[in-house]
Amino acid sequence: MKEIVILSGKGGVGKSSLTAAVGHLLAEKYKVVLADTDVDAPNLDLVLGAELESTHGITASDKAFIDYDLCSRCMECVDVCRFSSIIGEDEPVIVSYSCEGCGACTLVCPLEAISIQPVENGKLNILNSGSIRVVAGELGIGESSSGRLVDVVKRRAREEAELMGSDLLLTDGPPGIGCPVIASLKGVDYAILVTEPTPSALSDLKRVVEVARFFKVPAGVVLNRAGLHGKSRNAVLSYLKENELDLLVEIPYDPLLPKALAQGGLAVSMYPDAPASVAIRELTKTVDAMLAGK
């Protein structure tokens, strides 16, 4: 089995749409598991129109809790917290959203009134779209430890893939380059990096390329909405050449893509002859060759 992750640095360049389309096309030939590790804004199920099979809470975060019956209000914990996550004038209050669960407060409390406890920080959803199995993580609103939630999603997706005897685990990753991106990237065989021809998207692409190289994951690039701006397209192409990165495909800007999305379908099946659909099939062939060559 091959594991491939789709990342971009910049948000909104088409990661989820591409994951859904490539997954859908490859499912005609292979057993496919898709994972959604954009746990802040999981949208893959919406793009696919996948049906929810089961959902359960995930406890992948630790937070400090104060037992106010024991607390003497000495406020030692307020001063020791490096994350300013304990506040208060009269009594200490844990700011749960920023608490890292590091336990420094438990070490200075003279009355052992503070404990670190695991808390539920999100959900794991199992969905189906035709023969495709989808494992999606969903971070609770305002929760933290998204990286650990991503780890749980990946573990479960691998189990599903193993169970199905799957050939491909394709992951729709989060935007950015931080903690959940690194968790999504670690240990995969290949990263598909999506960009578009604008200076912003190129700048973000460069940052995510650095992260992929840092973790020694081979990567190739998809240029989405390729006709948006000629000068920026040239800038992307020369960056790829200078850095010996493969251009996997250029996908033209195609109004049929958002149209299909608005109608709750995939452009590759609703409008198979649309220029964007043709390009996505090209990309799918490339991924197919990677799977065949394993």
């Binding site: 305002g142 948006l228 958002p258």
Partner: protein, 310 residues
């Protein structure tokens, strides 16, 4: 997180120690136009002769400088404390190893204590060491920058690629601008996508928040998450619809807005002038002041000035 926050947490969220209004620009989904709105709003406020600070708090992928055609100047390092072990003083009690909840401290056989893996600088190991064998080292996790052009000053936070400490860089860039808040008539904050703690930290101190979205099923879904977050902190907010003419589900956006009792501001359509300004690094209000996009941003800026600026 519990949907009911303790009042102290909400008070701390709004507390700034200065009177300059802070406007957050966020949106949940990536690529909906947060930075475009933030940059053009800042340029429009500046065009009205007000001193404005724009904060790029999307430290994973900061793009405001590119959209403004500004370079990143005046770098300040963002450090995090790292334990440094004095092996002469170490009594080999291993208390630090058990105190580290990230399990990043090791003592290989016949060797001395080693830091391997993630360290968030919590300093728990310092607290338990009975031999004063751990001292404070520093590791850089990012950089903040500041650059002024006319009435507009841009503060940018940037995480070093390969690292995970986005939150520390967000806090650092906020601290830098908040320390100089009195110099400005208004502070605008551009956040990362999502609804996690970095977005909350970026929005801390916000007088009002603009939630940017697009009329697609994905835009509506992520807007709902964002408004739920703002509900928890009881933040004043309104919705800005970008690409309002995308084939989509405007009714879904209206439903989400109604559920969260949130007003929808003017929208913006796909616009050639806006795209040209975007790729050329000049705000549309400066590049094409007569365009529809520029007029939309000027009107929005005038509303904000009237509502929130002294």
């Amino acid at each position: 997180m519990n949907s009911e926050l303790r009042p102290e947490i909400i008070q701390a969220f709004f507390k700034t120690g200065f009177s300059t209004p802070v406007i957050g620009v966020t949106g949940g989904k990536g690529g909906v136009g947060k930075t475009t709105v933030a940059v053009n709003l800042a340029a429009a406020v500046a065009a009205r002769g007000r001193k404005v600070a724009l904060v790029d708090a999307d430290v994973d992928a900061p793009n405001a400088a590119i959209l403004l055609g500004l370079s990143l100047d005046n770098p300040v390092d963002v450090p995090v404390t790292q334990p440094v072990f004095d092996h002469q003083k170490c009594s080999d009690c291993k208390l630090c190893i058990s105190a580290c909840r990230l399990n990043s401290l090791f003592r290989p056989k016949e060797k001395t204590i080693l830091l391997m893996g993630e360290c968030n600088g919590c300093e728990a190991c310092f607290l338990v060491c009975p031999s004063d064998a751990i001292s404070r080292g520093r590791r850089s996790v990012g950089t903040t920058y500041k650059n002024t052009s006319g009435k507009l000053t841009l503060y940018t936070g940037e995480l070093h690629p390969g690292l995970e400490e986005s939150a520390l860089v967000v806090t650092a860039v906020k601290k830098r601008v908040f320390a100089e808040a009195d110099q400005f008539d208004c502070i605008l904050i551009d956040t990362s996508p999502g609804t996690h703690c970095n977005v909350i930290d970026a929005l801390k101190g916000a007088t009002h928040v603009l939630a940017v979205t697009e009329p697609t099923p994905l835009g509506a879904h992520d807007l709902d998450l964002m408004l739920s977050l703002l509900d928890m902190f009881k933040v004043s907010r309104s919705i800005f619809i970008n690409r309002a003419d995308l084939p989509g589900r405007m009714n879904e956006i209206q439903d989400v807005a109604a559920t969260h009792e949130t007003q929808i501001e003017t929208g913006l359509k796909l616009d050639e002038d806006l795209l040209a300004s975007y790729v050329n690094g000049v705000p549309v209000v400066d590049a094409y002041p007569d365009s529809l996009a520029a007029k939309t941003f000027m009107a929005l800026a005038d509303n904000l000035i009237m509502e929130y600026l002294p």
